[in-house]
Protein backbone atom coordinates (compact mmCIF):
# COMPACT_ATOMS: atom_id res chain seq x y z
CA UNK A 1 0.00 0.00 0.00
CA UNK A 2 2.75 2.37 1.05
CA UNK A 3 5.28 1.17 -1.54
CA UNK A 4 4.22 3.44 -4.46
CA UNK A 5 4.29 6.48 -2.15
CA UNK A 6 7.78 5.58 -0.90
CA UNK A 7 8.99 4.94 -4.47
CA UNK A 8 7.62 8.31 -5.53
CA UNK A 9 9.43 10.02 -2.64
CA UNK A 10 12.71 8.25 -3.44
CA UNK A 11 12.37 9.34 -7.06
CA UNK A 12 11.69 12.92 -5.98
CA UNK A 13 14.73 12.91 -3.69
CA UNK A 14 16.91 11.52 -6.53
CA UNK A 15 15.59 14.21 -8.90
CA UNK A 16 16.22 16.95 -6.32
CA UNK A 17 19.80 15.71 -5.74
CA UNK A 18 20.42 15.57 -9.52
CA UNK A 19 19.03 19.10 -9.89
CA UNK A 20 21.30 20.39 -7.11
CA UNK A 21 24.36 18.64 -8.53
CA UNK A 22 23.76 19.97 -12.06
CA UNK A 23 23.04 23.51 -10.78
CA UNK A 24 26.21 23.40 -8.67
CA UNK A 25 28.19 22.20 -11.66
CA UNK A 26 26.78 25.04 -13.77
CA UNK A 27 27.71 27.65 -11.13
CA UNK A 28 31.19 26.17 -10.76
CA UNK A 29 31.87 26.13 -14.51
CA UNK A 30 30.15 29.41 -15.46
CA UNK A 31 33.26 31.56 -14.88
CA UNK A 32 36.57 31.28 -16.71
CA UNK A 33 38.56 28.56 -14.98
CA UNK A 34 42.30 28.33 -14.84
CA UNK A 35 42.19 24.54 -14.94
CA UNK A 36 39.58 22.11 -16.14
CA UNK A 37 38.38 19.26 -13.93
CA UNK A 38 40.31 16.01 -14.41
CA UNK A 39 37.42 14.37 -16.28
CA UNK A 40 37.35 17.16 -18.91
CA UNK A 41 41.12 16.92 -19.36
CA UNK A 42 41.08 13.14 -19.63
CA UNK A 43 38.18 13.19 -22.09
CA UNK A 44 39.83 15.81 -24.31
CA UNK A 45 43.10 13.88 -24.16
CA UNK A 46 41.33 10.79 -25.52
CA UNK A 47 39.32 12.78 -28.09
CA UNK A 48 42.27 14.76 -29.48
CA UNK A 49 44.03 12.04 -31.59
CA UNK A 50 40.74 11.17 -33.32
CA UNK A 51 40.05 14.84 -34.03
CA UNK A 52 43.55 15.21 -35.44
CA UNK A 53 43.12 12.21 -37.77
CA UNK A 54 39.74 13.43 -39.07
CA UNK A 55 41.17 16.93 -39.48
CA UNK A 56 44.17 15.60 -41.44
CA UNK A 57 41.94 13.55 -43.75
CA UNK A 58 39.52 16.47 -44.28
CA UNK A 59 42.35 18.90 -45.01
CA UNK A 60 43.98 16.46 -47.44
CA UNK A 61 40.70 15.88 -49.33
CA UNK A 62 39.79 19.58 -49.50
CA UNK A 63 43.34 20.57 -50.53
CA UNK A 64 43.42 17.91 -53.28
CA UNK A 65 39.98 18.99 -54.52
CA UNK A 66 41.03 22.64 -54.62
CA UNK A 67 44.27 21.77 -56.44
CA UNK A 68 42.44 19.73 -59.10
CA UNK A 69 39.89 22.51 -59.59
CA UNK A 70 42.49 25.21 -59.91
CA UNK A 71 45.08 23.38 -62.02
CA UNK A 72 44.64 25.57 -65.13
CA UNK A 73 44.66 28.79 -63.14
CA UNK A 74 47.72 27.59 -61.21
CA UNK A 75 49.65 27.06 -64.47
CA UNK A 76 49.00 30.67 -65.53
CA UNK A 77 49.76 31.93 -62.06
CA UNK A 78 53.00 29.94 -62.06
CA UNK A 79 54.19 31.67 -65.25
CA UNK A 80 53.43 35.09 -63.81
CA UNK A 81 55.13 34.19 -60.56
CA UNK A 82 58.32 33.06 -62.33
CA UNK A 83 58.61 36.47 -64.01
CA UNK A 84 57.89 38.23 -60.73
CA UNK A 85 60.44 36.04 -58.93
CA UNK A 86 63.28 37.11 -61.20
CA UNK A 87 62.34 40.78 -60.62
CA UNK A 88 62.18 40.25 -56.88
CA UNK A 89 65.55 38.49 -56.78
CA UNK A 90 67.17 41.67 -58.07
CA UNK A 91 65.26 43.78 -55.54
CA UNK A 92 66.22 41.37 -52.77
CA UNK A 93 69.94 41.68 -53.39
CA UNK A 94 69.57 45.48 -53.20
CA UNK A 95 67.58 45.15 -49.96
CA UNK A 96 70.21 42.82 -48.49
CA UNK A 97 72.80 45.50 -49.03
CA UNK A 98 70.51 48.07 -47.38
CA UNK A 99 69.84 45.74 -44.44
CA UNK A 100 73.54 45.16 -43.86
CA UNK A 101 74.09 48.89 -43.95
CA UNK A 102 71.15 49.44 -41.58
CA UNK A 103 72.55 46.91 -39.10
CA UNK A 104 75.96 48.57 -39.17
CA UNK A 105 74.36 51.94 -38.46
CA UNK A 106 72.19 50.46 -35.66
CA UNK A 107 75.29 49.02 -34.04
CA UNK A 108 76.98 52.36 -34.29
CA UNK A 109 73.97 54.05 -32.62
CA UNK A 110 73.59 51.15 -30.10
CA UNK A 111 69.88 50.54 -30.94
CA UNK A 112 68.11 47.51 -29.44
CA UNK A 113 66.42 45.00 -31.73
CA UNK A 114 62.90 46.26 -32.46
CA UNK A 115 60.98 43.09 -31.87
CA UNK A 116 61.23 40.77 -28.89
CA UNK A 117 58.34 38.61 -29.99
CA UNK A 118 58.53 35.05 -31.25
CA UNK A 119 55.77 33.63 -33.44
CA UNK A 120 54.93 29.94 -33.10
CA UNK A 121 52.88 28.62 -36.04
CA UNK A 122 49.95 26.43 -35.02
CA UNK A 123 47.18 24.60 -36.86
CA UNK A 124 43.48 24.45 -35.98
CA UNK A 125 42.41 20.87 -35.25
CA UNK A 126 38.87 21.16 -33.90
CA UNK A 127 36.14 23.63 -33.03
CA UNK A 128 33.87 23.85 -30.01
CA UNK A 129 30.80 21.69 -30.70
CA UNK A 130 28.53 24.42 -29.32
CA UNK A 131 27.51 27.16 -31.69
CA UNK A 132 27.20 29.68 -28.86
CA UNK A 133 30.89 29.36 -27.90
CA UNK A 134 33.83 30.52 -29.99
CA UNK A 135 36.79 28.40 -28.97
CA UNK A 136 39.09 26.26 -31.10
CA UNK A 137 41.65 23.53 -30.42
CA UNK A 138 45.17 23.94 -31.82
CA UNK A 139 47.88 21.32 -32.31
CA UNK A 140 50.55 22.62 -29.92
CA UNK A 141 50.65 22.81 -26.16
CA UNK A 142 53.04 23.07 -23.26
CA UNK A 143 55.47 20.84 -25.21
CA UNK A 144 56.19 23.97 -27.31
CA UNK A 145 56.44 26.23 -24.30
CA UNK A 146 52.93 27.64 -24.62
CA UNK A 147 51.30 29.00 -21.48
CA UNK A 148 47.85 30.29 -20.56
CA UNK A 149 46.74 33.72 -21.88
CA UNK A 150 49.41 33.94 -24.61
CA UNK A 151 48.10 36.05 -27.54
CA UNK A 152 47.08 34.28 -30.74
CA UNK A 153 47.23 36.16 -34.05
CA UNK A 154 46.82 35.69 -37.80
CA UNK A 155 48.31 37.65 -40.70
CA UNK A 156 45.20 39.89 -40.57
CA UNK A 157 45.29 40.71 -36.88
CA UNK A 158 44.47 39.52 -33.38
CA UNK A 159 42.48 36.28 -33.05
CA UNK A 160 42.32 35.61 -29.30
CA UNK A 161 44.33 34.12 -26.46
CA UNK A 162 45.13 30.71 -25.03
CA UNK A 163 42.40 29.66 -22.64
CA UNK A 164 43.84 26.30 -21.61
CA UNK A 165 47.09 24.58 -22.35
CA UNK A 166 47.45 20.79 -22.38
CA UNK A 167 50.70 18.91 -23.04
CA UNK A 168 50.06 18.41 -26.78
CA UNK A 169 47.19 20.76 -27.60
CA UNK A 170 45.69 24.05 -26.44
CA UNK A 171 42.35 25.77 -26.51
CA UNK A 172 42.08 29.28 -27.95
CA UNK A 173 39.29 31.61 -26.88
CA UNK A 174 38.47 33.83 -29.87
CA UNK A 175 37.68 37.53 -29.56
CA UNK A 176 34.02 36.88 -30.35
CA UNK A 177 33.35 34.35 -27.58
CA UNK A 178 30.44 35.74 -25.51
CA UNK A 179 31.40 34.43 -22.06
CA UNK A 180 31.86 36.90 -19.21
CA UNK A 181 35.53 37.76 -18.71
CA UNK A 182 36.36 37.68 -22.40
CA UNK A 183 37.09 41.39 -22.67
CA UNK A 184 40.07 43.63 -23.29
CA UNK A 185 41.09 47.23 -23.78
CA UNK A 186 41.98 48.79 -27.12
CA UNK A 187 42.67 52.15 -28.70
CA UNK A 188 41.08 53.92 -31.66
CA UNK A 189 43.82 54.25 -34.29
CA UNK A 190 42.57 57.71 -35.37
CA UNK A 191 42.59 59.35 -31.93
CA UNK A 192 44.50 56.87 -29.67
CA UNK A 193 41.58 57.05 -27.20
CA UNK A 194 40.86 54.07 -24.95
CA UNK A 195 37.89 51.74 -25.55
CA UNK A 196 36.71 48.48 -23.97
CA UNK A 197 36.00 45.46 -26.16
CA UNK A 198 33.69 42.62 -25.11
CA UNK A 199 33.24 39.39 -27.05
CA UNK A 200 29.81 38.42 -28.31
CA UNK A 201 26.41 40.14 -28.28
CA UNK A 202 25.91 39.89 -32.04
CA UNK A 203 27.25 36.63 -33.55
CA UNK A 204 30.71 37.07 -35.07
CA UNK A 205 31.25 40.56 -33.69
CA UNK A 206 32.49 42.26 -30.52
CA UNK A 207 30.80 44.98 -28.51
CA UNK A 208 32.84 48.17 -28.10
CA UNK A 209 32.22 50.77 -25.39
CA UNK A 210 34.14 54.02 -24.94
CA UNK A 211 36.23 54.54 -21.78
CA UNK A 212 34.53 57.89 -21.06
CA UNK A 213 31.96 60.30 -22.48
CA UNK A 214 34.47 62.41 -24.40
CA UNK A 215 35.43 59.48 -26.65
CA UNK A 216 33.53 59.53 -29.94
CA UNK A 217 33.21 56.31 -31.89
CA UNK A 218 32.87 56.44 -35.68
CA UNK A 219 31.95 53.81 -38.23
CA UNK A 220 35.11 52.65 -40.01
CA UNK A 221 37.43 53.35 -37.06
CA UNK A 222 40.22 50.81 -36.75
CA UNK A 223 40.79 49.47 -33.25
CA UNK A 224 44.25 48.37 -32.09
CA UNK A 225 45.48 46.67 -28.94
CA UNK A 226 46.42 49.16 -26.25
CA UNK A 227 49.56 49.53 -24.21
CA UNK A 228 47.57 48.89 -21.02
CA UNK A 229 46.38 45.48 -22.26
CA UNK A 230 47.13 42.64 -19.84
CA UNK A 231 47.90 39.92 -22.35
CA UNK A 232 48.41 41.48 -25.78
CA UNK A 233 51.35 43.38 -27.29
CA UNK A 234 50.41 46.92 -28.31
CA UNK A 235 49.31 48.07 -31.79
CA UNK A 236 47.98 44.77 -33.13
CA UNK A 237 44.92 45.24 -35.35
CA UNK A 238 41.75 44.00 -33.62
CA UNK A 239 39.16 45.08 -36.19
CA UNK A 240 36.97 47.82 -37.58
CA UNK A 241 33.83 49.45 -36.16
CA UNK A 242 30.91 48.59 -38.42
CA UNK A 243 27.87 49.97 -36.55
CA UNK A 244 27.82 52.80 -34.03
CA UNK A 245 24.85 53.59 -31.76
CA UNK A 246 24.49 56.79 -29.76
CA UNK A 247 21.54 57.48 -27.45
CA UNK A 248 19.50 60.66 -27.99
CA UNK A 249 21.01 62.40 -24.96
CA UNK A 250 24.49 61.28 -26.07
CA UNK A 251 25.29 59.66 -22.73
CA UNK A 252 25.22 56.13 -23.99
CA UNK A 253 27.38 55.00 -26.86
CA UNK A 254 28.40 51.61 -28.16
CA UNK A 255 29.53 50.02 -31.40
CA UNK A 256 29.98 46.65 -33.04
CA UNK A 257 33.44 45.64 -34.13
CA UNK A 258 34.09 43.33 -37.04
CA UNK A 259 37.32 41.45 -36.25
CA UNK A 260 40.14 41.75 -38.79
CA UNK A 261 40.50 37.97 -38.70
CA UNK A 262 37.92 35.90 -40.53
CA UNK A 263 37.04 33.31 -37.88
CA UNK A 264 35.00 31.16 -40.23
CA UNK A 265 38.11 30.27 -42.25
CA UNK A 266 40.71 29.80 -39.55
CA UNK A 267 43.31 27.17 -40.41
CA UNK A 268 46.71 28.47 -39.41
CA UNK A 269 47.51 30.85 -36.57
CA UNK A 270 50.50 32.12 -34.63
CA UNK A 271 50.96 32.10 -30.89
CA UNK A 272 52.95 35.12 -29.75
CA UNK A 273 55.66 34.30 -27.25
CA UNK A 274 57.94 36.79 -25.53
CA UNK A 275 61.59 36.02 -26.32
Amino acid sequence: MLQPVIQKRVLLVILAVCFLVVTGLMFYSSQEREKEIWLERAFKFVLYPFQKIIHAVTTFVSDTWTTINELGALQRENDTMRKRLSELATELSQLEQLRAENERLRELLQFKTASTLELIPVEVVARNPRNTSATITIDKGSNYGLTRNMPVITAEGLAGRLLRVEPFSSEVILLTDPRPGNSMSGVIERTRELVYIYGGDKRGTCLVKPSDLSVKLQTGDRILTSESSLFFPKNLVIGTLVEVYVSKDGYEQYAYLEPATDFSRLEYLYVVKEK
Binding site: V22, M26, K44, F50, P129, R130, L163, P180, G200, D201
Partner: protein
Protein backbone atom coordinates in the same frame (compact mmCIF):
# COMPACT_ATOMS: atom_id res chain seq x y z
CA UNK B 1 28.32 -4.85 -25.81
CA UNK B 2 25.95 -2.10 -24.65
CA UNK B 3 28.83 0.05 -23.44
CA UNK B 4 30.64 -0.43 -26.75
CA UNK B 5 27.42 0.39 -28.60
CA UNK B 6 27.00 3.61 -26.61
CA UNK B 7 30.63 4.57 -27.16
CA UNK B 8 30.39 3.91 -30.89
CA UNK B 9 27.19 5.89 -31.43
CA UNK B 10 28.33 8.77 -29.23
CA UNK B 11 32.04 9.00 -30.01
CA UNK B 12 31.81 8.95 -33.82
CA UNK B 13 29.21 11.77 -34.06
CA UNK B 14 31.15 13.80 -31.50
CA UNK B 15 34.44 13.53 -33.40
CA UNK B 16 32.68 14.39 -36.66
CA UNK B 17 30.86 17.31 -35.03
CA UNK B 18 34.08 18.84 -33.69
CA UNK B 19 36.52 18.18 -36.53
CA UNK B 20 34.73 17.44 -39.82
CA UNK B 21 31.64 19.65 -39.71
CA UNK B 22 33.50 22.92 -38.95
CA UNK B 23 34.76 22.52 -42.58
CA UNK B 24 31.16 22.05 -43.77
CA UNK B 25 29.46 24.75 -41.72
CA UNK B 26 26.21 26.26 -42.99
CA UNK B 27 26.05 30.05 -42.43
CA UNK B 28 28.84 29.58 -39.86
CA UNK B 29 26.85 27.02 -37.87
CA UNK B 30 27.83 23.40 -37.19
CA UNK B 31 25.09 20.79 -36.75
CA UNK B 32 24.33 19.09 -33.44
CA UNK B 33 24.86 15.47 -34.49
CA UNK B 34 24.61 14.20 -30.92
CA UNK B 35 21.17 15.74 -30.49
CA UNK B 36 19.94 14.05 -33.68
CA UNK B 37 21.51 10.72 -32.65
CA UNK B 38 19.99 10.92 -29.16
CA UNK B 39 16.49 11.53 -30.49
CA UNK B 40 16.77 8.77 -33.10
CA UNK B 41 18.25 6.35 -30.56
CA UNK B 42 15.41 7.05 -28.10
CA UNK B 43 12.86 6.45 -30.88
CA UNK B 44 14.41 3.06 -31.69
CA UNK B 45 15.23 1.75 -28.24
CA UNK B 46 12.71 3.16 -25.73
CA UNK B 47 12.71 5.14 -22.48
CA UNK B 48 15.57 3.67 -20.43
CA UNK B 49 18.18 3.29 -23.20
CA UNK B 50 17.08 6.69 -24.58
CA UNK B 51 17.59 8.37 -21.21
CA UNK B 52 21.00 6.72 -20.60
CA UNK B 53 22.15 7.52 -24.15
CA UNK B 54 21.00 11.14 -23.76
CA UNK B 55 22.77 11.57 -20.42
CA UNK B 56 26.00 10.06 -21.74
CA UNK B 57 26.02 12.01 -24.98
CA UNK B 58 25.19 15.21 -23.05
CA UNK B 59 28.09 14.51 -20.70
CA UNK B 60 30.46 13.96 -23.63
CA UNK B 61 29.28 17.13 -25.35
CA UNK B 62 29.77 19.11 -22.14
CA UNK B 63 33.24 17.68 -21.61
CA UNK B 64 34.30 18.30 -25.22
CA UNK B 65 33.27 21.96 -25.34
CA UNK B 66 34.67 24.35 -22.79
CA UNK B 67 31.82 26.22 -21.23
CA UNK B 68 29.12 25.70 -18.66
CA UNK B 69 28.98 22.05 -17.62
CA UNK B 70 25.59 20.45 -17.17
CA UNK B 71 23.54 22.14 -19.91
CA UNK B 72 23.82 19.31 -22.40
CA UNK B 73 23.53 16.54 -19.79
CA UNK B 74 20.16 18.00 -18.75
CA UNK B 75 18.75 18.74 -22.16
CA UNK B 76 19.95 15.64 -24.02
CA UNK B 77 18.88 13.44 -21.08
CA UNK B 78 15.40 14.93 -21.28
CA UNK B 79 15.27 14.63 -25.07
CA UNK B 80 16.42 10.99 -24.96
CA UNK B 81 13.78 10.27 -22.33
CA UNK B 82 11.08 12.08 -24.35
CA UNK B 83 11.96 10.30 -27.60
CA UNK B 84 12.06 6.98 -25.75
CA UNK B 85 8.64 7.70 -24.26
CA UNK B 86 7.24 8.20 -27.77
CA UNK B 87 8.75 4.91 -28.97
CA UNK B 88 5.68 2.89 -27.98
CA UNK B 89 3.14 5.53 -28.92
CA UNK B 90 4.03 6.31 -32.51
CA UNK B 91 4.75 4.45 -35.72
CA UNK B 92 8.43 4.88 -36.52
CA UNK B 93 8.28 3.94 -40.20
CA UNK B 94 7.69 7.50 -41.37
CA UNK B 95 10.73 9.74 -41.58
CA UNK B 96 8.51 12.71 -40.79
CA UNK B 97 8.36 11.65 -37.10
CA UNK B 98 12.13 11.96 -36.41
CA UNK B 99 12.19 15.11 -38.55
CA UNK B 100 9.51 16.77 -36.42
CA UNK B 101 11.16 15.58 -33.20
CA UNK B 102 14.60 16.83 -34.26
CA UNK B 103 13.15 20.22 -35.19
CA UNK B 104 11.30 20.51 -31.88
CA UNK B 105 14.32 19.14 -29.97
CA UNK B 106 16.71 21.62 -31.58
CA UNK B 107 14.47 24.57 -30.73
CA UNK B 108 13.92 23.42 -27.13
CA UNK B 109 17.62 22.58 -26.60
CA UNK B 110 18.89 25.86 -28.04
CA UNK B 111 16.37 28.01 -26.16
CA UNK B 112 17.17 26.17 -22.91
CA UNK B 113 20.90 26.58 -23.52
CA UNK B 114 20.40 30.26 -24.43
CA UNK B 115 18.45 31.02 -21.25
CA UNK B 116 21.05 29.30 -19.04
CA UNK B 117 23.91 31.17 -20.75
CA UNK B 118 22.04 34.45 -20.40
CA UNK B 119 21.43 33.77 -16.71
CA UNK B 120 25.17 33.31 -16.20
CA UNK B 121 26.01 36.60 -17.89
CA UNK B 122 26.96 35.52 -21.40
CA UNK B 123 26.48 38.31 -23.93
CA UNK B 124 24.24 36.99 -26.72
CA UNK B 125 21.63 39.23 -28.37
CA UNK B 126 18.38 37.33 -28.92
CA UNK B 127 17.75 38.48 -32.49
CA UNK B 128 21.28 37.57 -33.52
CA UNK B 129 20.95 34.21 -31.75
CA UNK B 130 17.62 33.55 -33.45
CA UNK B 131 18.66 34.57 -36.97
CA UNK B 132 22.31 33.56 -37.05
CA UNK B 133 22.30 30.43 -34.88
CA UNK B 134 18.87 28.89 -34.29
CA UNK B 135 17.40 29.07 -37.80
CA UNK B 136 20.45 27.75 -39.70
CA UNK B 137 20.94 25.08 -37.01
CA UNK B 138 17.33 23.88 -37.38
CA UNK B 139 17.81 23.67 -41.13
CA UNK B 140 21.15 21.85 -40.90
CA UNK B 141 19.89 19.39 -38.27
CA UNK B 142 16.84 18.62 -40.44
CA UNK B 143 19.03 17.94 -43.46
CA UNK B 144 21.16 15.49 -41.47
CA UNK B 145 18.27 13.71 -39.73
CA UNK B 146 17.59 11.24 -42.57
CA UNK B 147 21.19 9.96 -42.94
CA UNK B 148 21.63 9.72 -39.16
CA UNK B 149 18.25 7.98 -38.72
CA UNK B 150 18.84 5.36 -41.41
CA UNK B 151 22.53 4.95 -40.48
CA UNK B 152 21.63 4.36 -36.85
CA UNK B 153 18.85 1.96 -37.82
CA UNK B 154 21.28 -0.05 -39.93
CA UNK B 155 23.93 0.01 -37.18
CA UNK B 156 21.47 -1.20 -34.54
CA UNK B 157 20.17 -3.94 -36.87
CA UNK B 158 23.73 -5.13 -37.52
CA UNK B 159 24.47 -5.29 -33.80
CA UNK B 160 21.20 -7.17 -33.17
CA UNK B 161 22.00 -9.69 -35.94
CA UNK B 162 25.48 -10.24 -34.60
CA UNK B 163 24.12 -10.78 -31.10
CA UNK B 164 21.56 -13.27 -32.41
CA UNK B 165 24.24 -15.16 -34.31
CA UNK B 166 26.46 -15.23 -31.25
CA UNK B 167 23.52 -16.52 -29.18
CA UNK B 168 22.68 -19.22 -31.71
Amino acid sequence: MTVRKYMLFIFIPLVLQTSLFPHLSLFGVIPNLLLITTICYGLFEGIRPGLIFGLLSGLCLDLAGSGILGINITILGLLGFGAGYLERLIFKGYLVIPLCLVLAGTIVAELFSYSILLAFGWRIAFLSFFGATLLPLCLYNLVLTAPVYYGLQKGLDLIRDRRLKAGA
